[in-house]
């Protein structure tokens, strides 16, 4: 009966080579025994090098390779046999690796999890102490650690990637990892070496004690993540008993302490910070208007939006463009017409001969209305009362800018400016007027074009929109000439 004795260092590759050879020779799991290091003398043992190398390539699912590479480091002596038994079954059972309900696989998965956890805890709980002089070009550190499984070999590369500019050693009862001048090597395990004290541990203890909130004592949560078996090698752990013991009285003392009088400087500072806020009754200037729009609570939309998005453009613009409401991008930037629909408008407006930089652009509603959907915000049409509430601001902007012509895009803008959004497609291209008598040229909203799924139809509609804008521009020029 073949017996495979695997080496202490490089156990993973040795097992893989042996298993491959055994499978290709057709040796069933019941006829092979395994050990790490030389097992008790077995007269029938076969040294691994005598197991014939694989004569044919054996293909196994990648998930098995990953599983084996982890389980191999488990401390259970049965691990090699269990892995080999599963490998054997894989030859005839398709889909076995995906079956989490299979009892053999479930056992190996549990072992895999234990090794993963042990490796993770090693990356977390190894504590280096400085053993060289701190002013050396390469500083020297050493640590003693006691893992549950044989996890130093697979975990040492983590430390090599992280602590590459210093020399270090991690000693465990089983194996020692040494990293010197950028090269990682392993040696046999050793009894716990004497590593001199490191004064930084005092500072670390100070931090550990002070970051702890005594009002939230949850010892169970700590114990499940940092079990006691690790405590003896953690310098901070010696503070734990005292921290737990005093927590309740410290928390109670905080609650019972009477409020104190604030220090003298406090009042002065607070007074200085409380900036005077003068509320002017009427907007008399664009910046003032913007500030007032931002403080608007006339409808509930302000509650969800980032900010109000006021109109933007030259004070003396004779064309005012009114869209629907800010979208996602406008809401973030606080500027109108910067999102996809705005960019599309800019492009077509330029093609239609509109001097975009000389136009004042704004929206009928100043806050973004949306419903949250995971990581996105889905645009919602503002309703009549929201449009009505915001009409106040649109009117103020019109009064301030005094445009010769307003380009109204979409139903919401039409409703805000003319009082009705009905039949916008039949009214497009026509000129109506605001209550105050400013001419309003009606067209659709550019986002309507963006939403059309059919490219041909979209092309058609884009052409119509461009024609509308040209006609608006022509009208504006007429008005300018008057």
């Amino acid at each position: 009966m073949p017996h495979v004795a695997l080496p202490h260092i490089g156990t993973d590759t040795a097992w893989r080579d042996a298993a491959r050879g055994l499978v290709s020779r057709g040796v069933p799991p019941s006829e092979v025994t395994w050990s790490r290091g030389a097992a008790e003398a077995d007269l029938f043992a076969t040294p691994p090098e005598e197991i014939a190398p694989a004569s044919k390539t054996i293909s196994v699912p990648r998930s098995f390779v990953e599983l084996a590479n982890t389980v191999i480091w488990h401390s259970d002596p049965e691990r090699f046999a269990r892995l080999y038994a599963l490998l054997w079954r894989l030859g005839s059972e398709k889909g076995l690796m995906e079956d989490r309900g299979d009892a053999d696989l479930a056992k190996l998965r549990a072992m895999e999890k234990a090794v993963r956890r042990d490796r993770h805890k090693m990356t977390a709980f190894v504590r280096f102490r400085e053993i060289g002089a701190p002013d050396q070009p390469r500083r020297r550190f050493a640590a003693w650690f006691e893992p549950t499984h044989h996890t130093l070999e697979p975990t040492a590369p983590f430390f090599a990637r992280r602590f590459a500019d210093m020399d270090w050693m991690i000693a465990t009862p089983d194996l020692t990892a040494v990293f010197e001048d950028g090269a990682l090597g392993f040696a046999e395990g050793q009894p716990k070496p004497e590593i001199p004290d490191d004064a930084t541990e005092e500072l670390w203890g100070t931090y550990f004690r002070n970051i702890f909130n005594p009002a939230r004592l949850k010892v169970g949560a700590m114990m499940s993540e940092m079990p006691k078996k690790y405590w003896k090698n953690l310098p901070e752990a010696r503070h734990i008993p005292e921290m737990i013991a005093s927590a309740e009285s410290r928390a109670r003392a905080m609650q019972e302490a009477a409020p104190t009088l604030p220090p003298l400087r406090a009042a002065k500072i607070t007074e200085r910070l409380a900036a005077p806020r003068v509320l002017r009754p009427m907007a008399d200037d664009l910046d003032q208007l913007k500030a007032e729009e931002n403080a608007c609570t006339r409808c509930p939309l302000y509650e969800n939006a980032t900010q109000a998005v006021p109109g933007e453009g030259p004070r003396d613009a004779d064309l005012m463009v009114v869209g629907e409401q800010p979208g996602d991008q406008e809401d973030l930037a606080g500027r109108p017409f910067v999102g996809p629909a705005g960019q599309m408008f800019d492009r077509i407006a330029r093609e239609a001969g509109i001097e975009r930089d000389r136009a004042f652009v704004t929206n009928a509603v100043k806050h973004f209305k949306f419903t949250p959907k995971g990581k996105r915000r889905i645009h919602q049409n503002p309703n009549t009362s929201e449009i009505k509430a915001c009409r106040f601001w649109v009117k103020s902007e019109i009064e301030l800018i005094r445009p010769k012509l307003i380009l109204s895009m979409g139903g919401t803008a039409a409703e805000s400016l003319t009082g009705s959004r009905k039949g916008i497609l039949s009214r497009r291209g026509s000129i109506e007027a605001t209550e105050g008598g400013v001419p309003v040229f009606l067209t659709v909203h550019p986002s309507y074009l963006l939403r059309l799924p059919d490219p041909a139809l979209r092309e058609d509609e884009t052409e119509k929109f461009r024609a509308d804008l040209k006609s608006a521009q022509a009208h504006l020029e007429e008005l300018r000439a008057q």
Binding site: F125, F163, L217, K218, P259, P262, L332
Partner: protein, 434 residues
């Protein structure tokens, strides 16, 4: 604290800090400062050090690595993970936020780290494998810009002079200038801005110097910068990465009267608007020298826990906030988890057959986690699943029992039994006298 007689033999780190500090107005030792400024930082819940770009120092020229998942290097008896050196640069503060131990009107002891001290502490702790990196926050001194500038200097020095490749989280100050926030994102893995309270009204009431709309705008700014950093320029060059681990925020639970529906609604809005990685909920916890404006309570830890569970349901299980709190008084049931509570209120949707149900439906079964669902879907292609299979796949069958039907199990009348909810309620417990 190190007793004074030990200071003479203190390591270079301590000595240097002391020398430096002789020039400053106070004479705290580095250790005392660390005590004060970590004590002041403990109310920030975030400890994440995951999800940033992958880096290492294999070239031998720097220190540190980040490999996707974070590492908790220690746990304090409050059950919280210690992953980062979480400190304030200073706890001097000109603001007067009622819930905060560092508010201007508190008589707490004050201290301030120098740039070099923070850099040195971070590196020395990191070298000894105590931490994953630095989480730097600060009270506001002089002005928001001045404070932010000093914080950015620390991050910059760590990255550019010391070649530090570990994790850096900077708490940014919403009132600081855009250029400074831009810089913060260049050196930090994560930036965060706290919304502080669940509603604008509460922020205005308890943190009078903070402006909710400034906070929102700052978060919007971070999202825009992050998106801009993803776009290649016309030359095909990628701009430098901006805060690769994203942004997060925190709100205090239980200090104001907001109910859980309001809190989860706020989170939903924050997640959808600013691409936040996490919203942290921090149970309002007693602070030394509290103000009379905000009486201290026992921190509502269970409520905090339930909110995190609900938050998870929203982010990974396809629930929305309104479903989670529908049919309640606006607050989550403290005795059972929110998914179980939802299932008990929506029994008409059960039992679910794990062999047939789609992923979305499976995710709503109590006791089934994301991974269990993934395993069920993979395994059921090959064969029929039984009770034991599900148990082996990691399902919590105690919770799932009434809500699934299997080849060898049907809940029968159990699902509709009037005492079903009572079966899940925790056993009565002796109340603590304190």
């Amino acid at each position: 604290m190190v007793p004074p007689d030990k200071l003479s033999q203190a390591p270079p780190l301590v000595r240097q800090g002391q020398e430096h500090y002789l020039n400053l107005m106070t004479t705290h030792s580095l250790e005392r400062k660390l005590a004060i400024l970590s004590d002041a930082a403990r109310y920030d819940a975030s400890c994440a050090s995951s999800g940033t770009s992958k880096r290492n120092s294999k070239d031998g020229k720097g220190l540190g690595s980040t490999e996707g998942s974070g590492i908790c290097h220690a746990y304090a008896p409050d059950g919280r993970c210690i992953s980062l050196l979480k400190i304030l640069m200073t706890n001097f503060c000109i603001f007067d936020c009622a819930y905060c131990v560092n508010r201007v009107s508190s008589n707490t002891e004050r201290a301030r780290f120098s740039v070099d001290e923070v850099v040195k502490l971070t590196l020395e702790f990191y070298r000894r494998n105590y931490i994953e990196g630095l989480f730097l926050s600060s009270g506001i001194i002089q002005s928001p810009d001045k404070t932010m500038e000093d914080m950015v200097r620390i991050a910059k020095k760590l990255r550019l002079e010391e070649n530090f490749r570990g994790y850096i989280h900077l708490k940014t100050i919403p009132e600081a200038s855009e250029e400074l926030i831009e810089q913060a994102g260049l050196y930090a893995d994560r930036v965060s801005i706290n919304v502080e309270m669940p509603t604008d009204a509460s922020v205005t009431q308890y943190a009078p110097e903070k402006k909710p709309d400034t906070i929102r705008r700052a978060m919007a700014g971070v999202r825009m910068r992050k998106e801009a950093a993803k776009e290649k320029s016309h030359t095909g060059k990628r701009p430098p990465r901006f805060a690769p681990a994203g942004q997060s925020t925190q709100m205090i639970i239980g200090a104001d009267g907001s109910n859980d529906a309001t809190i989860l609604g706020q989170s939903t809005r924050l997640y959808s608007s600013y691409g936040l990685k996490r919203v942290y909920y921090s149970a309002f916890s007693p602070i030394p020298d509290a103000t009379a404006k905000l009486p201290l309570i026992k921190p509502p830890l269970m409520r905090e826990h339930r909110l995190y569970q609900a938050d998870w349901l929203m982010r990974f299980y396809g629930f929305d906030a309104t479903e989670i709190t529908a049919g309640t008084d606006g607050n989550l049931d403290l005795s059972i988890d929110p998914k179980l509570a939802w299932a008990l209120r929506n029994r008409h949707a059960f039992p679910v057959d794990p062999m047939r149900a789609d992923r979305e439906t499976l995710l709503r079964v109590p006791g089934f986690g994301e991974r269990t669902v993934q395993r069920i879907i993979a395994a059921r292609r090959h064969r029929r699943l039984r009770w034991d299979d599900l148990a082996r796949m990691g399902a919590n069958m105690k919770n799932a029992r009434p809500f699934v039907s299997l080849l060898d199990w049907t809940p029968g009348a159990l699902l509709d039994s009037p005492d079903l909810a009572a079966r899940f309620a925790p056993k009565p417990e002796q109340l603590s006298l304190f």
